[in-house]
């Protein structure tokens, strides 16, 4: 009788628990997907694994990737090593052997992991709390996150190189935050590989034998959607990701001198002076300005979303973005008034005073107000806007000069006599009017790329691929003006670095402008002389 009673009790408990589970609204969580919301064909050209057989993007058939790309872009290109088949270790799930061997084969990696939160996810109260959240969400007990958990593909029984999706299995809120970069569009981190390979000059350069010359492109542009670009392997430290140094390997150089402009600004100088007093272990939302940070870091300003909340991506609040897209709020004399020329796959002009951007500006002021008065910060940012308007006006004037020269037939060598626009045959074949818009598509179809392209954004090809007489000297000058000096002046002003603003930005921009003027005058003169001698 007693036994029966216990049995009854147990079964009752069982039933109630089952019923309770059924009552809970089943929160259906789809597995993390970096390409969420994109169509199938898109996924097929960027995500689906093809090994090293073909490239990525619309022009994937025109080049084979570098072997290194399998590490930069594992989703697309990773192939497990053939020398030593690791499948036996995965089949038998011998977790101990990973460390036994790699402790000697790659000791740095194992030592990093040992000091990481993954090895001891419950080593501190804070960490335990965060781990408990993950445990609850993933329905797993996490006493150690092991090599095996990230590197073993249990379906194929092979080693895999983790991507953001693997991290997202546990770190879902961060992953979802990061995924929101797609809302804002390029340039962003999550689409960096797409940006790398969608441009026709990447495939064209590979076709012309410059694939490995583009190593520099691949290093930044292929891995930015992997979490380890900021939280480096195999420590994956959150604190490390909060330090400005996490950004500067990519964010530097002539088109986006963020490291230089921040590093030499007063903000950066104070950071370097007092770095050891900064407490990077605190989550950004709990940073007490002045106490934990005496000066803002890249992350503190750029990852601030709004109303005291921080978001796990740095692009949400961008207004001027990279500085290449012309603003709506100007009157243009050149063809920039028609920007983006009907091309559907590039962003429209920016309306600096749109409702959305005005709101974003107020969020910036919330950050600045941690230290600066509202009036000071607002005045500063407004002067940045004015700087950008002036710079875009100057670029417009320069573009007008070049376009007039072309229209009057003085461009030398003329577009008909030189190499066509990069991968023109591929653009015509692979992209439809739906992407390019009718006029641009027809231009490629009828002229086969034998026409000049200047200015934002397609004119930037000259920065990445120089072909036979294409672009010419004057086009190169204009490229430097709008893609280098304008952007350097922008970052110098935005990050408060006077020297970058003037000597790397405004001053060379003006010098380039007069050079363009005199080059145009010279070409016109030579053209006139030639015509005169022919008519004689």
């Amino acid at each position: 009788m007693k036994k029966f009673g216990i049995g009854l009790c147990l079964s009752a408990m069982l039933f109630t628990s089952v019923a309770w589970a059924a009552e809970q609204p089943l929160k259906k969580e789809t597995p993390p997907d970096l390409y969420e919301g994109t169509p199938d064909w898109y996924r097929a050209t960027y995500k689906d694994n093809v090994g090293l057989r073909e490239g990525s993007g619309p022009f994937k058939d025109y080049f084979k990737p570098q072997m290194l790309d399998m590490y930069w872009q594992p989703n697309r290109h990773y192939e497990p090593m053939k020398n030593l088949d690791h499948s036996i270790f995965i089949e038998k799930e011998r977790r101990d052997l990973c460390v036994t061997c790699h402790e000697e084969a790659t000791p740095g990696v194992v030592s990093d992991w040992r000091s990481s939160g993954h090895k001891n996810p419950k080593s501190s109260p804070y960490l335990s709390a965060r781990t408990a959240e993950i445990e609850k969400r993933t329905n797993r007990i996490l006493n150690e996150v092991h090599c095996f958990d990230c590197h073993a593909d249990t379906k194929t029984k092979q080693i895999r190189m983790p991507t953001g999706e693997v991290c997202g299995e546990c770190h879902r809120p961060q992953f979802d935050d990061f995924l929101r970069e797609r809302e804002v569009g390029r340039p962003n981190h999550i689409q960096s590989w797409e940006a790398n390979t969608i441009v026709p000059w990447y495939a064209e350069a590979a076709r012309r034998g410059y694939l490995y010359g583009q190593h520099g492109c691949d290093l930044c542009h292929s891995g930015a959607e992997k979490c380890d670009v900021c939280h480096t392997r195999h420590k994956f430290s959150a604190a490390e990701g909060r330090q400005p140094e996490a950004c500067i390997t990519c964010h530097m150089g002539p088109d986006h001198p963020d490291a230089e402009s921040y590093g030499e600004s007063k903000h950066g100088v104070i950071y370097h002076k007092e770095e050891e007093h900064f407490d990077f272990t605190r989550p950004l939302s709990e940073v007490r300005p002045g106490k934990d940070y005496r000066t803002p870091t890249c992350q503190f300003c750029h990852m601030y979303e709004k109303h005291g909340r921080f978001i796990h991506n740095p692009v949400m609040k961008g207004i001027w973005r990279m500085g290449t897209v012309p603003p709506k709020n100007l009157e243009y004399t050149s063809s920039l008034k028609d920007y983006p020329y009907g091309i559907k796959i590039i962003a429209d002009k920016i309306d600096i005073y749109s409702e959305e951007n005005v709101a974003k500006r107020s969020y910036w002021l919330e950050v600045c107000a941690k230290c600066h008065s509202d009036r000071f910060a607002d005045t500063y940012l407004k002067s940045l806007d004015e700087f950008m308007f002036q710079a875009h006006t100057l670029a417009d004037k320069a573009q007008k000069i070049v376009e007039d020269l072309i229209a009057d037939g003085y461009l030398y060598p003329s577009a008909a006599d030189r190499d066509p626009y990069p991968l023109s045959d591929g653009i015509e074949k692979q992209l439809s009017p739906a992407f390019l818009g009718e006029p641009i598509y027809n231009a490629f179809k009828t002229l086969k790329g034998k026409f000049p392209v200047v200015g934002p954004i397609l004119g930037v090809y000259g920065m990445f691929l120089q072909q036979q007489d294409n672009p010419s000297n004057i086009e190169n000058m204009y490229n430097r003006l709008w893609f280098w000096y304008k952007l350097q002046g922008y970052k110098g002003t935005a990050h408060v670095q006077q020297d970058v603003s003037w000597w790397w930005g405004q001053a060379p921009m003006m010098m380039e402008f007069t050079k363009i003027q005199s080059e145009a005058a010279r070409l016109r003169r030579e053209g006139r002389i030639e015509k005169a001698s022919l008519t004689k």
Binding site: N83, L84, D85, I88, F89, K92, R94, L97, T100, C101, H102, E104, A105, S111, R114
Partner: protein, 260 residues
């Protein structure tokens, strides 16, 4: 009567079993396990070697597999027949059981993992393959394994005696360091028979390469490590002294966490 009649079916198998058992028993003191180690190179052995060993040790056993170049210590070159961990005297070839033991238990502090992930047959089958790489196995035979007598008791006195040997008599510290961290004055210049630098063992790790039991450590002093600068002390030290030294170096082990 013809033997054929004498040996009926049942009787035959019984006789075989008894003979076999008797033979096994007679070998038993020498063998570590009862695994049947083939004498000839088999297809299984070749396949297993190719799949799991050759990536590091090379297709021809020269220690030059595709993964070897970035490794330190370098994978063993089998062509010399120099095996570190043996029960046989210094310089001698190893017994099959010695090789089987190393394959099964691995070598701590190296990329040689315990290959207990493979079946016993697979592990045993690679032994003739390894031996086939060196002409040493054609001209020489392994010497008889050294006998490990009854161990001395690890008393304070024994450790004290071992310390004297370590520091004064044999000057072990010249390579292994006074504290046994493998950082003695001659440590940096040591190289193995193949010309690769080799680190003297760090006793503080406690992961003795040939096994962690006192008997294993005792065997290293008695047999030396072929192919490395570590000599045999079978002549210099009495059996008792070797046990003392064994207990002394084992007392140098530091608790985990002090090394890495």
């Amino acid at each position: 009567m013809k033997p054929k009649v004498l040996l009926d079916k049942v009787g035959f198998w019984r006789a075989t079993a008894v003979t076999g058992a008797a033979l096994m028993l007679s070998i038993a003191p020498m063998t570590v396990s009862a695994v049947n180690i083939p004498t000839e190179v088999t297809d299984l052995g070749k396949d297993t070697y190719k799949k799991y060993c050759s990536p590091c040790h090379g297709e021809e056993g020269k220690g030059d597999g595709p993964l070897a170049r970035s490794m330190l210590p370098k994978p063993r070159d089998f062509t010399r027949g120099a095996y570190k961990f043996r029960t046989t005297p210094s310089g001698s070839l190893p017994t099959d059981e010695d090789i089987y033991r190393t394959v099964s238990y691995g070598v701590p502090n190296s990329t040689m993992i315990p290959w207990d992930i493979l079946t016993e047959e697979q592990r045993a089958s690679v032994i003739p393959v390894l031996k086939s790489f060196s002409e040493a196995f054609e001209v020489r035979k392994p010497d008889a394994p050294v006998t490990v007598g009854l161990p001395l008791r690890p008393t304070e006195r024994a450790i004290e005696e071992g310390k004297k040997i370590y520091e004064e008599k044999l000057e072990c510290w010249k390579c292994h360091g006074v504290e046994g961290r493998g950082d003695g004055p001659s440590a940096a210049e040591q190289e193995d028979d193949f010309g690769f630098p080799i680190k003297p063992f760090d006793f503080t790790t406690g992961k003795f390469k040939g096994g962690n039991s006192a008997q294993d450590v005792y065997l290293r002093f008695t047999t030396g490590l072929n192919g490395t600068p570590m000599p045999s002390f079978a002549k210099e030290l009495t059996d008792e002294q070797r046990w003392c030294l064994t207990y002394y170096v084992m007392s140098l082990v530091k608790p985990e966490g002090t090394k890495k």
